[in-house]
Structure formats: structure tokens, C-alpha cells
């Protein structure tokens, strides 16, 4: 084995080391998070559904992440399409503004939104969190859908128009089905980002905390940590499943673009 390969494997181990601890302590029958372990238990997982505040925060997070995914994917679809069409005055500036959250520390976005909401006297609710999350998810959906649009063969849309379909019909019956893997990838990625996002939710959440905000509160209580570990394990599994699905959708999109005749 070459030195470089060994280094890459050690690096991978470094990347996975903290995460590997999650299931270890989630199934560990002891309240102290340290070695040596105390034996196997499922009680931390059993405690999860019996904590009403936790169940409520999961519900809040799910609808916030779902709404964010829908909203940012629809807006991203518009931005990505405009970005791949003919250049017009101000287009690059607009695209730059849309992509800006990628290069802004999240705390700045959070603080800026908070100040405006307070100045306008608007209450902090789940919708304010959705507004902030959509802002930071929009660059991701725009980028994902932009590459989906670029991979699209324009001859297919032209064929639709030549065959007498209107623009709306071409979009619904030709473009949208071809873009579907990209759309699914965008939905999954933005859902995952929103589900995990902490700092914007921390600033903009009202009386209904999201799951990360609830978790943040629990980290202060040492006796709650094993339950957090169990929850983290579940979140880990969900994230990995969602991202794997997004990756499969993305690969299908790429395959569709390169080999349209191969049965797509």
C-alpha cells in the first residue's frame, strides 16, 4: 500500500471517528459519557418518544425542513433557469446576490434577519425560521438545478415546440420530467440542510424550538446526554439515507444527460 493511500485511509478514519462514538454511547448502559462502557441497553431509545418537548421539536423541524425544501427548490428552479438562459443586464448581479449566503458567516445572516423582524415588530415563528433557511438553501438548489438545466439537451425542448406544444406544456411534459432527478436531489439536500441548521433557527425561532435548538438546550444537562446520543444516532441514519438517495438521483440525472438513448 502506498503512503498516500494509507494517509487517505487514516484521514477517512479521522473524519468518521467522532460519528462512530454516537452508536457506541447510544447503546451504552451508563449516564456518564466516557470509557469503559457499562453494557448494552435500549432504554435511551425508549425514552425518546416519552419526552413530549422532544417529539414537538421533531414535528416542528420536519415541517420547517419540508417547507424550506419546497420553497427553495421552486425559487432555485426559477434562478437556475434564468441563469442558463440568454444573458441580460443585471443577471450576474442578481445571481451573485442569490449565491451570496454561501460566502457569508451564518451568524451575520441570522443577526441581520433578526434585527429587521424586530424592527418591523413581526413575531418570531416557524415561518421566520423557514424564511432564513430558504435564504441559505437557495444557493444550493440553484447550483444543483443549474447543472441539471445545463445537462438538458435543448433539442428535446425545441422538438416539443416544433411538434406544436405551448411553452407551458413543453415545460410540464418535457423539461420537468427530465429535470426530476435534479429536483429530487435539490429537495433532499435542502431538507437535510434545514433539518441540521442551528444558528439561524436559534436566533429566529419563537416559542416552538426546532430539533437542533432543543438539543442545544439539553447539552447543558449531563443526565440528558445519553438520550441526545440516541437521538443523534437516529439523525445520523436519516441523514445518511437522505444523502444517499440524493446521490442516486444526481447520478441518474448525470446518466440521463450523457446517454439519453440508454433507456431513460
Amino acid at each position: 500500500m502506498s503512503g498516500l493511500r494509507l494517509y487517505a485511509l487514516v484521514y477517512l478514519a479521522f473524519l468518521y471517528a467522532p460519528i462512530a462514538l454516537l452508536p457506541i454511547f447510544a447503546f451504552n448502559d451508563g449516564t456518564v459519557i466516557a470509557f469503559p462502557l457499562d453494557g448494552f441497553t435500549l432504554r435511551w431509545f425508549r425514552e425518546l418518544p416519552q419526552t413530549p418537548a422532544l417529539v414537538a421539536s421533531v414535528r416542528t423541524s420536519l415541517w420547517i425542513a419540508g417547507s424550506t425544501a419546497l420553497l427553495s427548490t421552486v425559487l432555485g428552479l426559477c434562478a437556475a433557469r434564468a441563469g442558463t438562459m440568454a444573458r441580460f443586464g443585471g443577471r450576474d448581479a442578481m445571481m451573485g446576490l442569490i449565491m451570496l449566503p454561501l460566502v457569508l458567516p451564518e451568524i451575520i445572516v441570522a443577526v441581520a434577519l433578526l434585527v429587521v423582524l424586530l424592527a418591523l415588530g413581526l413575531p418570531l415563528t416557524g415561518w421566520t425560521v423557514i424564511a432564513g433557511h430558504t435564504l441559505i438553501c437557495l444557493p444550493f438548489s440553484t447550483a444543483i438545478l443549474g447543472s441539471a438545466f445545463r445537462a438538458l439537451d435543448p433539442a428535446l425542448e425545441e422538438a416539443g415546440i416544433d411538434l406544436g406544444l405551448g411553452r407551458a406544456a413543453v415545460f410540464l411534459r418535457v423539461t420537468l420530467p427530465l429535470l426530476m432527478p435534479g429536483i429530487i436531489a435539490s429537495l433532499l439536500i435542502t431538507f437535510t440542510i434545514s433539518l441540521d441548521e442551528f444558528i439561524i433557527a436559534f436566533f429566529l425561532t419563537g416559542t416552538e424550538p426546532t430539533l437542533p435548538v432543543y438539543l442545544w438546550g439539553q447539552l447543558r444537562f449531563p443526565q440528558k446526554i445519553p438520550v441526545v446520543m440516541a437521538l443523534g444516532t437516529i439523525l445520523l441514519v436519516i441523514s445518511v439515507v437522505l444523502i444517499t438517495l440524493a446521490e442516486i438521483a444526481r447520478r441518474r440525472a448525470a446518466a440521463r444527460a450523457t446517454g439519453i438513448d440508454s433507456g431513460a
Binding site: 498516500l4 493511500r5 494517509y7 487517505a8 484521514y11 477517512l12 479521522f14 473524519l15 468518521y16 467522532p18 460519528i19 462514538l21 454516537l22 459519557i33 466516557a34 425559487l75 432555485g76 426559477c78 434562478a79 433557469r81 434564468a82 441563469g83 438562459m85 440568454a86 444573458r87 441580460f88 442578481m94 445571481m95 446576490l97 442569490i98 451570496l100 449566503p101 460566502v103 457569508l104 458567516p105 451564518e106 451568524i107 451575520i108 443577526v111 441581520a112 433578526l114 434585527v115 429587521v116 424564511a131 430558504t134 435564504l135 437557495l138 435543448p154 441540521d196 442551528f198 436566533f203 442545544w216 447539552l219 441526545v228 443523534g232 439523525l235 445520523l236 441523514s239 445518511v240 444523502i243
Partner: protein, 289 residues
């Protein structure tokens, strides 16, 4: 084929209207408001709207704020350098040594940890580095140390370790993309002309990969300088950063103008460094074409 026919331009404008309006209202507007706020002042519960530079004077004069700002810069620099140095060989390995069919799998494996809850990941580092943590328990158990190491948690070093881990994929991916773009015939030409492997790397591969390295550095540096969770969880008092102070001003001390001034200063520093990095890169790669 992308000729600017008026219909296409009109449709493009109509399409970008919704997302652009969204970004204008929820990003440009609020950022402008923050700048405005930074010139106002807080008079107990009331907001004094007469313009003043007092917040900036206080932010720059008060030793605590200055120290937090400088520390955030130093930590962000340290994280950027370690992350990029550690990530480069991995990106190089995946780009040059892994069979094309298996590259996607490697990249997927590298990005997976990044998709798990950031909060939980940072907390896990606290578990690893803590007084009764994994590192100490293992070293004690192995008889290497007699008392738990205390210098590995609640200080700037633990912040650097945790953030280096958290931002690894951000560094690997841009470098990988830059390495993938390199025309391998250039490397072969250098070898044919008698350059050693090391000097080919130094004089051909590395300069061609530099834009990716620079992009990686910025992508790591920008979010790290504004990070809140890591310094709060593993930093201890000596590892707190500017984002913690911004949060304190806004949510605890109820001094939004001063918090806004600190946020604007942080943004200015980030922008200045990004511009300098961009200019340096252009200057370096300019003459080569």
C-alpha cells in the same frame, strides 16, 4: 446558440424576479439594516437614531472586543492552514491515484460525515477531548499518563481541532476539482524534459492547483471566523470568538447597535481578506495566461 432574442431575455427577467426579489428583501435589505443599526445607539430600552460612530469606537477601543476579533482571525487562519494542508494529499490521492470508476465513491465517503448534525458532531469532540473523555480515558488506561490531560479541552487548540474536522470536505472538494482539471500531458511533458517527480509537483501540479487551494482556503475561512457553536461548546473562556460576543450583544445585553457594529466589522474583515486573496491569486496566475 445563446443569441439574445428579446423573448428569451424577457422570460429570463421574469424567471429571476422571484428569487432575486426574495434575496433583495431577506438578504440585501437586512444587511443594509445592520449597517444602519451600527450607526445608531442603544439608550437603555430606547433606540437612539441619531447617527454616531460611537459603536465602532467602542468596538475598536475596548480590549475585550479587540481580543475576540483578533482571536477569531487567528483561529480562522490556523483552521484554514491545517485544513488545507491536511486535505491536499487526500484530494491529490483521489484525483491522481484512484481509478475513475471509484472516485465518486471516495468523494461520497468524504462528504457523508459533513451531512450529519453539526451540533452533535461538535458535541462529540467535547466527549473525545474531555476530562473523562475518550483520549484521556484511553491514555490513562494504557498507563501513558497519570492524570487526565487538561490542555486539550476548553481552549483555542480544541476549537482548532474541532473546526479542522468540521470543515474538511469544504477543503477537499475545491482542491479535487482543480486537480481534475489539470491536463496530464503537462505533467508528462515536465517528466519527459527531465524534471524530477518532486520538482514537477512543485513547478507544474501545485501552481495549476493553486486556484482550487485558494478557493478551499476561503470556503473554510469565511464560515469559521463567524462560528458560534464550536467556541461555545469546546472553547471555554479562552476559546470564545467574535460570534459569541455578537450573540451576547443581541440576545443578552440587548445592545443591538454595538452587536451590529461588531458584525459589520467581521464582515469587512472577511471581505478584505477575500479580496486580497483574490488579487494575490490573479497576480500569481496572471502572466501565465
Amino acid at each position: 446558440m445563446a443569441q439574445a432574442d428579446p423573448g428569451s431575455v424577457r422570460r429570463g427577467r421574469a424567471l429571476i424576479a422571484a428569487p432575486a426579489l426574495y434575496a433583495l428583501l431577506l438578504l440585501a435589505g437586512p444587511l443594509g439594516t445592520i449597517v444602519l443599526f451600527s450607526f445608531w445607539s442603544q439608550d437603555f430600552l430606547a433606540l437612539d437614531r441619531s447617527p454616531t460612530l460611537g459603536n465602532y469606537a467602542e468596538a475598536l477601543r475596548e480590549p475585550l472586543y479587540r481580543e475576540l476579533m483578533l482571536r477569531s482571525l487567528a483561529i480562522a487562519m490556523a483552521v484554514t492552514v491545517t485544513t488545507v494542508l491536511l486535505a491536499f494529499p487526500v484530494a491529490y490521492f483521489v484525483s491522481f491515484k484512484v481509478a475513475p470508476a471509484r472516485k465518486a465513491l471516495w468523494l461520497f465517503l468524504i462528504t457523508i460525515p459533513f451531512w450529519t448534525s453539526y451540533l452533535v458532531r461538535v458535541f462529540l469532540w467535547k466527549v473525545i477531548l474531555g476530562f473523562n473523555g475518550v483520549v484521556n480515558a484511553s491514555l490513562l488506561g494504557a498507563g501513558i499518563i497519570d492524570a487526565p490531560l487538561t490542555f486539550i479541552l476548553y481552549n483555542p487548540v480544541s476549537v482548532v481541532i474541532t473546526l479542522t474536522h468540521a470543515f474538511a470536505p469544504f477543503a477537499i472538494l475545491p482542491i479535487y476539482v482543480a486537480l481534475e482539471r489539470i491536463d496530464h500531458s503537462l505533467i508528462e511533458a515536465s517528466r519527459d524534459l527531465g524534471e524530477s517527480r518532486a520538482s514537477t509537483f512543485r513547478r507544474v501540479t501545485l501552481p495549476l492547483a493553486l486556484p482550487g487551494v485558494m478557493a478551499a482556503a476561503l470556503i473554510v475561512f469565511i464560515p469559521v471566523i463567524g462560528d458560534y457553536v464550536t467556541p461555545r461548546l469546546v472553547g471555554g473562556p479562552s476559546g470564545l470568538m467574535i460570534a459569541n460576543m455578537i450573540q451576547t450583544q443581541f440576545l443578552k445585553l440587548n445592545n443591538a447597535p454595538l452587536g451590529a457594529a461588531l458584525a459589520v466589522l467581521a464582515m469587512l474583515i472577511v471581505t478584505a481578506i477575500a479580496l486580497v486573496a483574490g488579487l494575490a491569486l490573479r497576480r500569481f496566475s496572471g502572466p501565465r495566461g
